[in-house]
Structures are given as C-alpha cells and as structure tokens.
Assembly symmetry: C2
DNA sequence: GTGTGACTGCTAGTCCGTG
DNA sequence: ACACGGACTAGCAGTCACA
C-alpha cells in the first residue's frame, strides 16, 4: 500500500462522507474532475499544496489525507 | 502559515531530534541535499511520495510532517 | 457521474558552485 | 554544516476526447 493509494482512499472516503460527487469536489477545490479521479485511484502523486486544497474542500485537516485506514483489512 | 512552511518546520524538528545533518538526512532518504534545504525553508512544494521518503528516513509516520505545531506561537 | 490515455506547460527534483 | 543561485532533466498540474 503506497502513500498515493492511501491518499486516494482517504479522499474518496471523506468525499462520500460529505455526500459529494467527484465533480462537486472538483468544483469546490478548483481542481479538474479528472485529476480528482486520478488522485482517488492512486495513480497521481499530488503535492502538499494540492493536498491542502482538497483537504480544505473536504473540511478535514490536511494530515488526515495521509492517515492510515482504521479498519480496512485489519489483522 | 502555508502547508509548505509547516512541512519544513516539522522536517527540521524531527531531523534535529534524530541528530541528523541535512546531508545525513539527504543520504538516508536518497534525496539531494539542496532539495532537503529547500523543503525545510518552505520554498519547495514536495509530493506525497517525497514526503513519505523523508518520513521514513526520519522514522515518523508520514502524516506527522503535515501536523500543525504544538506550542509555537500558541494563543 | 466516473475511468483512462495522451497531451502541453510548468515545476518538482538533481547537480554544480559560492559564501 | 547550511543558505542560496543557475541550469538541467524527470515528472507533476491541468486539460481533453472518448468509453
């Protein structure tokens, strides 16, 4: 599990918690929807500035996007 | 206080806690020393992959590099 | 509403040298 | 051991057409 995948999973989770579509989130943080898509799929390697933009739109602290998942495939 | 400054301060703090020089840290994470310098000064906008590289060399969770400072200019 | 490959402009990241 | 600048290469930011 790379850091990009972790970020992607977190973005997707927080986005769904807020009931937003990728397009809605893209609009709120001023980033293209296909880029959001790439981040969520873990194929993009965003900078900390982009991370902060997304986190602000998601209304979560930036560092939460890097957090490890709490109970996904836990052992 | 931008996210880059926050990252820079955290990197510097954890590096000093580990008693490493910038060159030492640069060697341990395989990143150029001048780049580490730029990150610490907050003039660079590193990617999450770079963040993870630095965090691993610092032996701290990646998200800690984005954490807000505990008692610096606290109100 | 989302996934994906390709594309261009710009910056992330490297390397050399100075104080 | 660190700050800072210039030049360079690899890769990211930002966008589109198509499925």
């Amino acid at each position: 599990m790379g850091v990009q995948q972790r970020v992607g999973l977190n973005v997707r989770r927080f986005r769904k918690e807020r009931g937003l579509s990728q397009e809605g989130l893209a609009f709120e943080c001023g980033i293209h929807r296909t880029y959001i898509s790439g981040v969520e799929r873990g194929i993009r390697n965003p900078t900390v500035v982009i991370l902060e933009e997304i986190a602000m739109a998601l209304k979560v602290p930036t560092w939460r996007l890097l957090e490890d998942l709490p109970d996904k495939s836990k052992g």
